[in-house]
């Protein structure tokens, strides 16, 4: 599996072959607070980079999840419907949102690696 890449909107993607797995960063889940509802895209949904692909609701507010990559969704994480708190407890693992067949792997080049994302977070405060 490829290294984890991050978007400026705090989504991450890891890639195996041409299939990406998308989720939100630890920083994002911490900022959102307790997640109580997640709506993930269904298989077959076409998503565009930087456009809304999922919805997440914390106790505080609703947020849009923008896809860090373009492609066709092949699976939404159905487990999040029953256990939305997984996004808080395991954001980089079991709290993934959807798997997507990438239409343009070169989009990954524009994303940040772990170190760049860390530096980006530091620049935010």
């Amino acid at each position: 599996m490829s290294e984890r890449k991050y978007s400026k909107d705090h989504e991450w993607v890891t890639v195996e072959g041409d299939v990406g797995t998308v989720g939100i960063s630890d920083h994002a889940q911490e900022q959102l607070g307790d997640v109580v509802f997640v709506e993930v895209p269904e298989a077959g949904t076409a998503v565009e980079k930087d456009e809304q692909a999922a919805t997440i609701e914390s106790v505080k507010a609703a947020s849009e999840i923008n896809s860090p990559v373009s492609g066709e969704v092949i699976e939404g994480n159905a487990a999040l419907a029953e256990e939305p708190g997984t996004v808080n407890s395991d954001p980089l693992g079991a709290g993934w949102f959807y798997k997507i067949k990438l239409s343009d792997t070169s989009e990954l080049d524009a994303l940040m690696d772990e170190d760049a994302y860390k530096a980006y977070l530091d620049s935010l405060d």
Binding site: D34, F37, T55, V59
Partner: protein, 374 residues
């Protein structure tokens, strides 16, 4: 995120909030903790099972002095103040000429004065309103040198009794002056969570020490504004500026219970407050819309502003507060609907992200109220 406030104020507990890891946000012009490291869900549930400490020092505290203060206040609120017995507290509403609500407030007969607590966002306007209308015989003492702490939850009474045994003898909606840890306080048994609990008015300079003393008790945890909102929503309590405002009357807001019998059309001191004619007419003829509780059927929260529609998609109202109810483990909301839809168990729909979600009109409070009535 939020536009910088020109002049953000702080409460006497600001340093303590930061020390406790509070996530600070601007609220009603104050720098306030929206949550502590435990998070809103845990803070909410802690308050329902043990005791939560809230800083509500941003709210306005006012003393009204003068023998005519109670009757003078009756010219501003549709509530019996004149016969409010010493030590008793009552919920009230400032109304405008159209019968709309300018603010909701608490009035306590503290013996030689009335103790009034108003909302933070409205306090300047409320104070000006009282100054303009209460008349020369009443003097206003704005208590901007006092903090207000709320201790809420089933263990609140046991905790406070250790520091001030007199507190445990108070009943719901009563108040008394008492010393707590050496600080001269005025304590009422009331709150904004649906739980038993207290609001403690304490001199600003002694507030942090009192808060630390309370937090040292094993049952007590600090609670932020996030859980305060979810607790009051589950308890069916209105948030001014959201569930009630100048465009809603007390009857539309389902607050008829707050309008004292003595101030109604057939009461001993009928009317005499702004908008009385409108309110009398609504008592007589009913209202065209009313605030109701709403239970979304799915897991998705339905938030403030969501449009409510009937089966054909016709607009019948809107959600005014909505979110997730941690004690219910489900989303919960309140809003206004047309008269035909106010009955419990009526099916309605809310438009969320362009899609209709099913909701059921539900009785409030959504959770059992646990007030101490002796």
């Amino acid at each position: 995120m939020t536009a910088p406030e020109t002049e953000t104020k702080t409460t006497p507990l600001n340093a303590l909030h930061r020390e406790l890891g509070g996530r600070m946000v601007p609220f009603a012009g104050y720098d306030m903790p929206v949550q502590f490291p435990a998070g809103i869900l845990k803070e909410h549930l802690h308050t329902r099972t043990a005791a939560g400490l809230f800083d509500v020092s941003h709210m306005g505290q006012v003393r009204l002095h003068g023998g005519g203060a109670a009757l003078a206040m009756e010219a501003l609120v549709p509530v019996d103040v004149a016969e409010l017995e010493p030590g008793k507290q009552r919920y009230a509403l400032f109304t405008n000429a159209a019968g709309g609500i300018l603010d909701d407030l608490m009035i306590t007969n503290a013996g030689d004065h009335l103790f009034v607590v108003v909302n933070a966002a409205c306090k300047d306007q409320d104070i000006a309103h009282m100054r303009a209308h209460l008349g020369g015989g009443v003097s206003l003492e704005v208590l901007d040198d006092r903090a207000l702490l709320a201790l809420q939850g089933p263990q609140a009474a046991a905790v406070l009794a250790r520091l001030a045994p007199a507190a445990a003898r108070l009943l719901f909606m009563t108040g008394a002056a008492m010393e707590i840890g050496g600080a001269p306080c005025y304590v009422t048994r009331s709150g904004y969570t649906g739980e038993d609990g207290f609001e403690i008015s304490v001199p600003s300079g002694l507030a942090e020490a009192l808060a630390r003393r309370l937090l040292a008790e094993p049952e007590v945890a600090p609670i932020g504004l996030g859980a305060r909102d979810s607790l009051r929503l589950e308890a069916g309590l209105c948030l001014y500026g959201h569930d009630i405002d100048t465009t809603t009357t007390p009857l539309e807001g389902a607050l008829a219970w707050a309008l004292s019998k003595s101030r109604r059309a057939d009461g001993a001191r009928p009317g005499g407050y702004p908008g009385a004619e409108t309110i009398f007419a609504q008592f007589e003829n009913g209202v065209t819309r009313r605030r109701v509780g709403l239970r979304p059927e799915g897991r998705a929260p339905v938030r403030e502003g969501a449009e409510l529609v009937d089966g054909e998609g016709r607009r019948i109202g809107a959600v005014t507060s909505g979110g997730f109810g941690p004690s219910l483990g489900a989303p919960v909301a309140m809003g206004y609907v047309e008269k035909a839809y106010v009955k419990a168990d009526t099916a309605v729909q809310a438009m969320v992200r362009g899609k209709p979600l099913a909701l059921t009109v539900a009785k409030m409070p959504f959770v059992q109220q646990n007030y101490y009535r002796g």
